[in-house]
Amino acid sequence: MAPKKLGLKQRYAHMTRGLDWETTYQPMDAVFPYDTFEGIKIKDWSAWEDPFRLTMDSYWKFQAEKERKLYAVLDAFAQNNGQTGVSDGRYINVVKLFLTGVSPLEYQAHRGFAFTGRHLRGAGPRIACQMQSLDELRHLQTQIHTISHYNKFFDGIGEFPHMHDRVWYLSVPKSFFDDARAAGPFEFMIAIGFAFEYLLTNLLFVPFMSGAAYNGDMSTVTFGFSAQSDESRHMTLGIEVIKFLLEQHPDNLPIVQKWVDKWFWRGFRVLGLVAMMMDYMLPKKVMSWKEAWEIYFTEAGGSLFQDLERYGLKVPKYADVATEAAEHISHQNWAVFYQYSHAAAFHTWMPDKEHLDWLSEKYPNTFDKYYRPRWEMWAEMEKEGKRFYNPSLPQLCQVCQIPMAYTEPGDPTKIAFRCTEVAGETYHFCSDGCKDIFDAEPEKYIQSWLPVHQIFQGNCGGATVPDVLNWYRMNVGADNMDYVGSPDDRLWSEWHAAKTREAV
């Protein structure tokens, strides 16, 4: 008799939960030491609904197929010198920001999900986390392979892992993930699985991927596509985990709410880099940050929280503050990089008149009143040969680690200053959101590695700016400063001139 083939469902059950067992040589609490200390109560792990019924062997098959397609496109892109076909040489700085700021987070996500994939007691979530862990490693690899082609031509790319651990603005995304990974497995799942991958993901990947599409970067578009089916699994896992925790025990609600509040705010702060990218760095704009926020947070997030209301979960604290700030953060962030351009590993530029007009149109309530004059003042200074740089180092927020450049809700002329004292020492914050996070766990954040303080303590290669940039492995005069006049700019102009000659 021929052996009977198992149905998909049975196969899945055997190959996942069927491989799990109740330990006897060691108590389960010793085998899974991390899944109780956060106070989360799980009555029944088997109630977990597996969000995607995928066994390892079919996982490998799917992923291998996607890899083949991706690498075929990358090869073609390289052979056809696709890098010469993007909208403008400035666009490459978006790719640089992505590789230095976001790709290392894929690796952090890989490590984090490997941890939860080991330490959650239920086999269902454990397997989902293990697959996501592999996805995230693959995302890092495909991004490195895609962007390595640009590294042959453009500056600021080659030292991205070294820079991620050291450079002042990269401490913002790095500390975000360090915070999540230093938490317990349930907080990590809410932080990254829910807040980042579900609630905020469309504000990160859609802008980068549609930005790439609008600007002729077909290689980045392709890795985006290649990650898309993974991302939909990640979203499903994120929503499943929050529902599971809320259904398991009513005592979980206040803990989960606290994490949702915290990780919404931390995520929102990191996304300021995307805001700036959308409003200032894309030569061909997709939409404004404010529009993206309305679509992907106010509308989509609004209906999500309506759905979660039945569990008692509320819209994250300070969501209203973040929405108000959507008028301001892109302008405030690009201004930070404009004045610290000498210390950034990508290029900045002054928005031209057409660009300023676009911003006026997209931000009718605020741009002409507060931000346009700032650019006009700096443009005037540039014309006089006095390009504006900030000669001092900025004060940083103890939690988000961003220069304290954000203004009071409702008053864009006043910097928001908040502080707390712990054991006789003062700690400063950019917002009530960051202060609340600190006040809830001061022991954690008094250890923050703040780049500016580290420089003053003498831990960053020396006392002068060139010493520090050298310690960052920044190639001064190539990686940093304005786009206009940079080696990138010269190369782009040469390509452009060659294309024009060929066309004649």
Binding site: F37, Y370, Y389, P442, E443, F456
Partner: protein
């Protein structure tokens, strides 16, 4: 509130990263010129607590903001100072410490009549 940690003695295992002892005899001072947001945020300096406030103004604060078109018009004698949230008239001869400044003090100042480029707080 306190940290959620797997070990009960977490607080005893850690150290704050920025105590004044780590700054080689200096203390950190943050400075912000109000209504001049072309300087994107307050800025930080490691300074000896013993320097006179007057020297702090002329050697540290003034040069930090010199690039601003309004910098030359500042009347330093008319400046309104706020030290850690309290409006103060600092004693220019006295040290930073004697003026109530400590590690991580925030000094904000207003320049009457100057409210940023074309009055836009820039």
């Amino acid at each position: 509130m306190s940290v959620t940690a797997i070990v009960p003695d977490y607080a005893r295992r850690i150290e704050p990263r920025d105590p004044v002892e780590n700054f080689h005899g200096n203390m950190l001072v943050y400075v912000h010129w109000e209504d001049h947001l072309s300087f994107c945020s307050a800025v930080a300096f490691p300074l000896p607590p013993a320097i006179p406030f007057g020297a702090f103004v002329s050697e540290v604060v003034a040069p930090a903001y010199a690039a601003h078109p309004e910098a030359a018009s500042i009347d330093w004698s008319a400046v309104v100072w706020m030290i850690d949230g309290a409006t103060k008239v600092p004693d220019m001869e006295a040290s930073l410490a004697a003026n109530g400044m400590k590690h991580k003090t925030l000094v904000r100042f207003w320049t009457p009549g100057l409210s940023g480029w074309k009055g836009t707080a820039s």
